[in-house]
């Protein structure tokens, strides 16, 4: 699998807190059996209600690095949320913090979701607002985001970071490798063995 160590592209600033997955992708777009076409509905209702939503603005249409606030992606477990952002064109998310299921979903899709301090996010956001074509680089090895000569430090749980950086973020193959161990664990679980194990 592809190793993910660096994402470079322009940014989209959305420095708001507690953005839930219902806002990222409203439930009516979950009526589907594939993720195809879901990208165009990212933030659909927020975009309808706010012409100034960053996802509406011409200058941010090519953004790859999303800048968000605290507890981004809270709420539902729907993978449709990171899927819609990914299909919109987002390749990395820098936020103050993430809800855990959302974070796990991002990792499964190969989207680095990294954390930075509020002050640093404000700096990054302001730089993108001032220059929407500014090149932003998220670096999982240096654990930093660099932009226009500035650099801010980022954090990410080591498990997820190394999974991305070593190209092992598609866990399916690794999990399958342990078939013997899986059967062994099952053989010791009381509830799979008439509570006599």
């Amino acid at each position: 699998m592809q190793t993910i160590t660096q994402i470079t592209g322009s940014g989209i600033p959305l420095l708001l807190d507690d953005i839930d997955t219902d806002r990222i992708i409203p439930a009516r777009y979950l009526r589907c059996v594939t993720f195809d076409g879901i990208g165009e509905h990212a933030f659909e209702d927020d975009r309808q209600q706010d012409p100034n939503h960053p996802f509406n603005k011409e200058q941010f249409q090519n953004g790859k690095v999303l800048v968000a606030g605290r507890n981004f992606g809270c709420g539902s477990s729907r993978e449709h949320a990171p899927q819609s952002l990914m299909r919109w064109g987002i390749q990395a998310i820098v936020a103050q913090s993430f809800a855990e299921i959302f974070f796990g979903n991002c990792t499964s899709l190969g989207i680095p979701a990294v954390c930075a301090s509020r002050d640093d996010l404000k700096k990054l956001s302001a730089a993108i607002e001032a220059n929407p074509t500014l090149e932003v680089t998220v670096d999982l090895e240096a654990l930093a985001v660099s932009f226009g000569g500035q650099s801010i430090s980022i954090t990410m749980p080591e498990g997820a970071r190394s999974a991305l950086a070593t190209g092992q973020w598609d866990f399916l193959a690794q999990l399958l490798d342990a078939e013997a161990g899986i059967k062994e664990t099952a053989s010791k679980l009381p509830y799979l063995n008439a509570f006599s194990a």
Binding site: L16, R31, C32, N71, S77, I101, G159, L176, Y191, L192
Partner: protein, 473 residues
Amino acid sequence: MSDKQNLFNKVWNLHAVGTLPSGQTQLFIGQHLIHEVTSPQAFEMLRERNLKVMFPERTLATVDHIIPTENQARPFADSLAEDMMSAIEKNCREFGITLLDLKDSRQGIVHVVGPEQGLTQPGLTIACGDSHTSTHGAFGAIAFGIGTSQVAYVLATQTLAMQRPKVRRVEVNGELAPGVFAKDVTLYIIQKLGVQGGVGYAYEYAGDVFDRMTMEERMTVCNMAIEGGARCGYVNPDQTTVDYLRGRPFAPQGADFDRAAEWWLSLASGRDAEFDDVVTFDAADIEPTVTWGITPAQSVGVTQNVPSVASFPESERKLVSEAHEYMGIGDDQPIEGTKIDVAFVGSCTNGRISDLREAAAVAKGRHVAEGVRALIVPGSQLVAKQAEEEGLDKIFTEAGFQWRAAGCSMCLAMNPDKLQGREVCASSSNRNFKGRQGSPTGRTLLMSPAMVAAAAINGAVTDVRKMLEPAAV
């Protein structure tokens, strides 16, 4: 096992298959639950890679999110919903998974069905492509929501890659006042700890309040652990848990049951169990609670006023003003008396028989206010049947509530039950996010089922304590 271990760590260790190169644990999942919304793409992943389901008997499927609660004739009027139904039917048939479909009397919301059938048991790890999987923690299981890729992992390997969270003990001690329900307890905890307060943690709910709760009340509390950011929430198994499970279809039977019960009770956190963090609350401080904003933490006691923007720290004010504006609610406005247009009793938080009984106790002999649309949506077909046997459906319909078929319904409005425009809904569900109930500008006030019934009758948020019989109070 050492008495210092908490339940979470005992159960986790038992299910750890090994450590992955990333350092995460490969965790065995004892019970997998699926529904029509988050599974179709997972089965597609299996097909693309030519994989089978490793333990088909450890996955159970049901249908809930898109189910119409009025006309259930197939094909559904909504062709997209029909496609999803056909997909889960085909996937379960092809991969050998039991499906409780609409024709099965056990069908219902996935988090209502699991416990009801006795599939949810102490000591299990339970996963489902749905964030409210935390509900099952009420039994002393480790139960959490997962995304669709992870649903594919569980289907193919019965395992997940997981980072072990820390464990926080959330204690509530003392007596709950009359008219204060499990829903109020869980809303209160989220208000105090914040919607992100639980990130990185599993919550152990402990203290006399939880010890005295019924299983259904414990489920209401654990259901909303996720709304406080926790990865999962649980209550230690005790005699209440054992009594609930006895005789349920998927529970162990006969001598197996006695051995099971002994094991279940042994899993409870030891007296000297260690936790990464402990917080305590006093039950006497909890009132009937109502949300006023757009996150489940934005709530107040029913006798209080909506907090002003200025009362929050600087960093919170932007979010609070956004909530005020969206809700059309102002600084220091009393929450009681807020007009409502719709009332909804249902969902995996509060769609069980005890919830319907509590709502019916308030509705009995009264009538829904003019202009209010009020829906009662049982959490499962078995809940509906039980309610009908008790005559609750009659109490509701005579009071002007609509009696619907089982499903998620207006909790997330993927079926035809939706708010219109800026309607305000008194809801027993779990999320008051913008647009959650089907209208992009619709507004939700979360509260207990009894409070929803009270609001339906008065056409406005009402302190239910004024309407309860003195005997019941």
